[in-house]
Symmetry: D4
Subunit: 220 residues, 8 copies
C-alpha cells in the first residue's frame, strides 16, 4: 500500500484559507506527527474539535507550544498573523449554551488574522435585550448568528439588519429540538431574506465563510 | 354487518363542546344524510374541510341552509348561539397565507358562541409591525398564534405576553419548511415558556382548546 | 469580547413567570455564580435538569440552601411563595416511569405558588383504573396528562373531560416508541378535540402553560 | 426475453390461502388477461385495489361476471366458497373513514369462506360507545381493530379483551398523522400486551392473518 | 400528592394474561418493593429487561428466589404453572444475535405455562439450512420468526407455511439496518400474506400474542 | 376582524432590500390588488413563483405592464433600477434542469440593479467542462452554485475558488435524491470550507444573500 | 448570459459509456433540439423517462425515427450497435410491477450493444418458482435483481449465486414500503455478502454498472 | 430447545466466498468456541468488527494464532491463501478518517487471496491531488471508493473512470452528515453513471462485491 502525505500545505496557497485539522477521533500518534510536521515546516496550524483528553495525551513539549481553548476545543500551533485592524465581524448568540460554537468561530477568525466582537445571550425569549443592542450589531460588516433550540433568533435578526448574515445552528435543545436540526431548518426556511446557513455546530465553517467575504474588501 | 348511527349527538352534552364533522373525503350522499339528520333533530352542525366541489355537489335546498366560507372551508348548519360578549380571543398570523387556518379557528369559535379579533400579517421579518400591536394583543384572555415557514412568531410572541398562548402551525412553506413540520417543531421547542401547540393546520383544535379555557371564567 | 450579564431578572417582571435555569451541561463554576447572584439579589431561582453529580459538585454552603429533588432533578433556591389555595391542577400519568416529568411539572407549579394533585399509573392498558378516578379528575381547573409509549392516554382523557388539558409526552418506550416521538405524535394528532401539547419531557413548560391559565382567574 | 406465466395457481394449494391480485397500476389489457385465464381454468380470483376507472375499463362481459365493491375497491371473480358457519371474526373501527380498509378485510374473509361482523365508529373520543359494545366484541375468536389518526383504539381494545387482536392502521389523518404512520406506531408500541400489527391500509393482510388463525380450529 | 398501588393484580384476572414488570430504568428500591409485594400476596411475577447490574443490586434473599436468565434478561419470581403439554410454538431465528429476543419470547411462554422449540441461525443467506427444517416448522400451531438486519426471513418463511406467524424484528444490524427499523419494515411490508408483526425486540409481546392464539384451542 | 395593509412598503427602506411577493397560492383578486397598489404608489414589485395560469388570469392591462419570465416564474412590475456596472456575480449550474432556480436568482439580482453571468451544465460527471471555465468563475466577487441530485458540484467548486460561494440546492432528482434534500445535505456537510447554503429552490434567497455582500463594496 | 452547448458528445469518448438524456421535465422544444443535434451529428441517443405525452408532442418526423417503448419509457434515436454475442446478463424480477425498471435496464443494455435475458415474477412469496430457475440464473456473468416492497429477493438470490449481483430496488409498495425505500434498505443491509445497489427505479444505472463489468472481459 | 451448529462451513463451498464472522457483540466464550472449531476443522476464518477489548479477552493461545489489525478491527485465523498475482483492485479514500473501512476492505480482499493498492486522502476539497493520481486509478480492474461527509468523491471519480466502481460510504461527519447517511445518499443518487453502492462502513461487503467481479476473469 502507498501512504499519502500528512498535510496538503499547498491548498492554503491555492484558496487563501489557512490549514486546519479536525482533531476528533484522530489518534495521539497521528496528531503528534501532524504537529511535528507543521513545526518543522514552519506552518501555523489550527486544530478543531480537539478533546481535552486528546490535548492532555500530547507530548508535553508539543502541548506547551499550543494555545488551547477548552470551551471551543480549538488549538493554535505556530505564529498567528497580526490582526487586520478593527473587528468587522460580530458574533451574536441566543444563549450561553451556544458559546462553544461561537468561540470556535471567533478563534478561527483570529487564526485567519481577523478580530471579532461577541454579543451573547440575546435570544428572542427576551426580545428587548436584542433590540437594545441592534444598532451595535448593524455597525459590523458581517454577522454570525448562533442559536439552538427553535432558532427564532435567525429570522428576527435577519429582518433587522442589512449586512451579510451567516446562521450557525447549534445542537442545543431537548426532545424535538435535540441535535440542532430544528435550528438548522429554521435558518434555512426563514421568512427573512438573504440569510445563509452552515452545518450544525460548524463554527469553523461560519468563520471561513466570513473570511471569504472579508477578503473582498480591505479595510481603510 | 351492523351499521353505526350517523352522529353521536350525546358527546356534545357530555363534553360541553359542540358537534363537528370533518367533511373532507366524505361522499356527497354521506354529507347529505348527516345534514338531514341534523336538520330533523334540530342540532346545529359545524362542517370543517368542506371542499368547494363538495359544497357545490350538495342538494340545493341543503346548500341554501348552509353558511359556507370558502377561505376556511367551513360551513354552519342550523342556528348559531348568541355571542357571549366582548371578544376574549385574539388570533395573530405571521402572513396572509395563514388565513385559512386562522379563519377556521375564528369560525369554530363563532360556532361555539365566542367572538374573536384577527391581527394578520405581523410576522417577525418585519418585527415593528408586531411590536406596534403588542399592547392590543396583551389585552386578550387567550392568544392563538398562527404561523408557517420557520414559525419564529411563536417564540417572539410568547416572550412578550402573559396570557395562555396556543400555537397553530400551518403548512405554508417550501423546501425544508414544506408541510408545516418546521413551524410545528419551532412551536414545540420554543425557548419561550408556557406555549402549547396543536396539530398542523388544525384551526378547529386550536379553537376548541381556547373554548376549554374560556369556559373556566364567565365574563363579568 | 463583551460578556452578557448572568441572568435577566427583568424578564420575570415583564411576563409574570418566575426565573428558571436549565442546569444541564452548565459547569459547576457557572452554576455557582448563578446561585450566588440569586442569593445576593434576593431572587428565588428554579434549577431544572440538575443532574445528581452536578448537585454534588456544588459548594456545600450553596448545596445546603437548595431544596433538591432527585426524581425530577429540580432544585429550589431562595424563599418559595405561599401556596395560592386549594390545588386547581391535577397531574395524571400513564405509568410509574412518567414520574420524573410529572414531578418536574408539580415542582415548577409549587415554585410558582400553586399546589397540585398527582394521580399516577392509570394508563389505558388497565382502563378501569382511569375510569374509577375520572370524576376526581374532572373536578380540577387544569389537567396535565403525562404519558410515553403510544400515548393513548391523551385521547381517552380528552374525550372524558371539559377542562383545559395539556399533554406532556415523555421519552418512555422501546423500538418504535423510543424517544417519546410516538407519544408526542399521538397527542398532536388526537381524535379528541381541544388538547394542547408541549415538547417531550418538558414538565417545566407544561407547568408554565398551566400557570398562564391559572393567572386568568383568581380562586374564590 | 422469456415471459413468466400470468398466475401461480399452485401457491394457493401449497399455503391454503386463496389467490389474489393487486390490481392497482396494472393495465386494462393485463387485468383482462388475468381474468380470462382465471375463468378458463375455473379458479376464483380476488382483485384488490381495483380503482373504479380500472373496473369501468374492463370488457363488459368480464365486468358483468365480477362482484365489485367500490368502497373497498375489491372484486370477486368466479364462485365463492360456502360460508364456514357463524361469524368468528369481528371488525371494529374507530371512525367512518376507516370503512374502506375494514371492508377490504371483510370481503377478503368472505372470499375465503368466512363471515364477519362489523362494529363501526366506536373510537376513543367517545369511549362509552366502545364500552357499550365490549361484551359483544369479546365473544368473537378473532378481532380486527381498524383505526387511523393517533390509533388510541388499539391499546384501549387490547386492554379489554383476551382474543387474538390484529391491528389494522389506516391512512386517515392530517398533519402529523397523515399517511397512517402515527396509527401504525401506536399499534406497534402499545402498552397493552399481545397486539399484532399489519401494514397501513392492508385489509387484505389482516384478513389473511385472521384466516391463518381460523384454520387452526374448525368450529364445533 | 396521592400514591398509586404498586401493581394492578386484577388485570391478570380480567385479561387472562399474567402480570409482568418492565424492570429497565426502575430503581433497586422500587424493584425490591414490587418483588416483596408479589411474594407476600403469592402472585408469580415476570420481570423483563432486568439488567445484570439491577439483578446484582437486589437484596440477596430476593435474588435467591429469582430464576434469572442473563441472555434474555428475564426473571421469574414465584411458582410457575405446569406446562400445558407438547410444545405448540416454534421460535425461528435468522442468526445467533437474535437469541436475546427469541429467549425473552420463550421464557414468557414458559411463564404462561407453554413450552416452545427453538430453531436458531437459519437465515436466508444460507437458504438450505432453512429448507432442511421447514417440515418441522410447519408442524407447529404458532410460529414466532425472529430476524434483524434486512429481515428477509419473514417473507421467505411466511410463503412456506400456513400457521399463524408472528414476526419479531430485532435491533441487529449496522448502517441502514441499525436499530431494527429495516427488519420491522420488511415484516410489515412483506409480499407474503398474513404475517403479523410486533415492536422491535419485543419478545414479551410476541409471546403474549402467541398465548392469545393458544388460548383459543385446548390441545387434545 | 381588522385587516392588515396589503404591503409593508417601509421594510424596503429599513433593510435596503426591495419588496417582493411570493405569488404561489395567492388568488387572482389578491394579486390584482397588490399590483394595483404598487402601481398607484409607484413602487416596483417582484413577483416570485407566479404560475403561468396565475399570470394568464390577471387583468389584461396589468398583465401588459408585467415583464414575465415563464422559466423562473418571476415577474417585474414598475421601473427597474439601472444596472450597477459590470456583473460581479456568476451563477454556475450542474445541469439544464437547474435553470428555473438559477434564473430566479438572476432575475432577482436584476430587479435589485445587479447584472450576472450564467455558466450552465458544468456538473461534475463531466469534470473537464467545469475545469475549462474555472478561471472565468474565479474572476467574480460572488458565486451562486446551483445543483440538484447529489450536489457534488458544491464541494468541487468551493475547493477551487476563494470568493464567497452560496450553494443553491434544487429539487432535481429521483429516488433518494428526490425533493432536493440530498443536494441540500451535501452543501451543508461539504468537506470544502466556507460554503454557505440557502433553502431548496430558493433562487430569490440566494440572490438576496448576494446583494447583502454586494452592498458592502461599491464597484470602482 | 452565456448558453452551454446542448450535449457533451465528448463524455462518451472519455468514459466508454454511451450518451443518454433524462427526458422527464424537459420541454418539447428542448427535446426536439437535442434530437435534431444528435441526428445532424450522427450520434445515437438514448432517452430515458420519456413520458408518453412527451413522445406524442414531438414533431412527427422525429417521432418516426424513434424506437419508443412505453413500458420502460425509453427511446432509441439513431443506429444501434450490433449485439456483442450471447447474452451475459440476466434480469430477475420479484413481480410483474417491476417490469418498467427491469425493461429500462434491458433497453439500456441493448443500446450499449449487450443482449440480456429476463426472468420475471419469481419473488420469494413463492420460493419454488425462484429455486426452479436458479441454475439458469447462475449461468450468467452478471445478475440484475429487481424488486420492490420489502426486497427479500435480493438476499435470497445473493445467497445462492456467485456472480456479481446488482440490486435494483423499485418504487412498488404501499404503506411502509411505498416509494421503494424499504426495498433499497433491504438491499443495502442484506445479510448476504457482496451485493451492490443502485438508486430506486434506476434501471439505467444498473445497466451501466453491468456494462462496466462486461467491458472487463470480452467473451471468448 | 435444539441448538444450531456454530458455523455453516458448507456455505463457502456453495458460494465461493470464504467464511467470516461478525465479532461485535459476541461473547468471549462464543468467539473462543468459534475459533476452536475453526482450528480443529482446519478452516481459515475472518473475524470482522472485533473490538480491541474482545481481542484482549481471548485466551492467550488463541490470540497468538490471530493476525489482528486494530485499525480495521479484523483478524485472520488459519492459513491465508497465496496471493492471486498483481493487485487488480485499488481502494481510494477521501480522507484519513476513512481508513478503518478502507482497511477492512483491503484485509478482506487479502483473506480471499487478492492484493490491493491504497490511495488515501484524495478528497475533492483538494481536487488536484485526485487528478494527479487518476491515471494510476484508471489502470485497475475494480475501484473501491471510500468517503464520508457529503461523499462528493464518488461522483467525481465515477465521471473519470470506466472500470466497475464500488462506493463505500463511511460514518465520518458531523451535524447533517453524521452517521454516513449523506455519503450513502450521494453515492446512490450520483449524477455519474454506473456506480454501485454498499452499506455504510461495510468494507467487508465492498470487498466481497469486488471478489465476485474478480472471479469472472483470471488475470493473464
Amino acid at each position: 500500500m502507498t501512504a499519502a502525505p500528512l498535510m496538503d500545505w499547498d491548498r492554503s496557497r491555492r484558496t487563501g484559507l489557512p490549514e486546519a485539522v479536525l482533531a476528533e477521533a484522530k489518534s495521539s500518534a497521528h496528531l503528534t506527527a501532524l504537529l511535528t510536521e507543521a513545526q518543522q515546516t514552519n506552518h501555523p496550524l489550527l486544530l478543531t474539535r480537539l478533546q481535552p483528553d486528546q490535548y492532555e495525551a500530547l507530548p508535553a513539549e508539543l502541548r506547551d507550544g499550543l494555545d488551547y481553548d477548552p470551551v471551543s476545543r480549538t488549538a493554535f500551533a505556530g505564529l498567528l498573523p497580526p490582526l487586520s485592524g478593527q473587528p468587522r465581524v460580530v458574533i451574536v448568540t441566543g444563549g450561553l449554551a451556544d458559546l462553544p460554537a461561537a468561540t470556535e468561530a471567533a478563534r478561527t477568525l483570529r487564526f485567519c488574522g481577523h478580530d471579532s466582537v461577541l454579543i451573547a445571550d440575546v435570544g428572542v425569549a427576551g426580545l428587548w435585550r436584542l433590540l437594545d443592542r441592534i444598532d451595535t450589531i448593524r455597525s459590523f460588516d458581517v454577522i454570525i448568528a448562533v442559536a439552538g433550540m427553535e432558532g427564532a433568533l435567525f429570522s428576527v435578526l435577519a429582518g433587522l439588519v442589512q449586512s451579510p448574515i451567516i446562521a450557525l445552528p447549534v445542537a442545543v435543545g431537548h426532545g424535538v429540538t435535540a441535535g440542532g436540526h430544528a435550528a438548522l431548518t429554521s435558518a434555512l426556511g426563514s421568512c427573512a431574506p438573504g440569510l445563509t446557513v452552515v452545518n450544525i455546530d460548524n463554527g469553523f465553517g461560519a468563520a471561513q465563510a466570513a473570511v471569504r467575504i472579508l477578503l473582498l474588501r480591505a479595510p481603510g
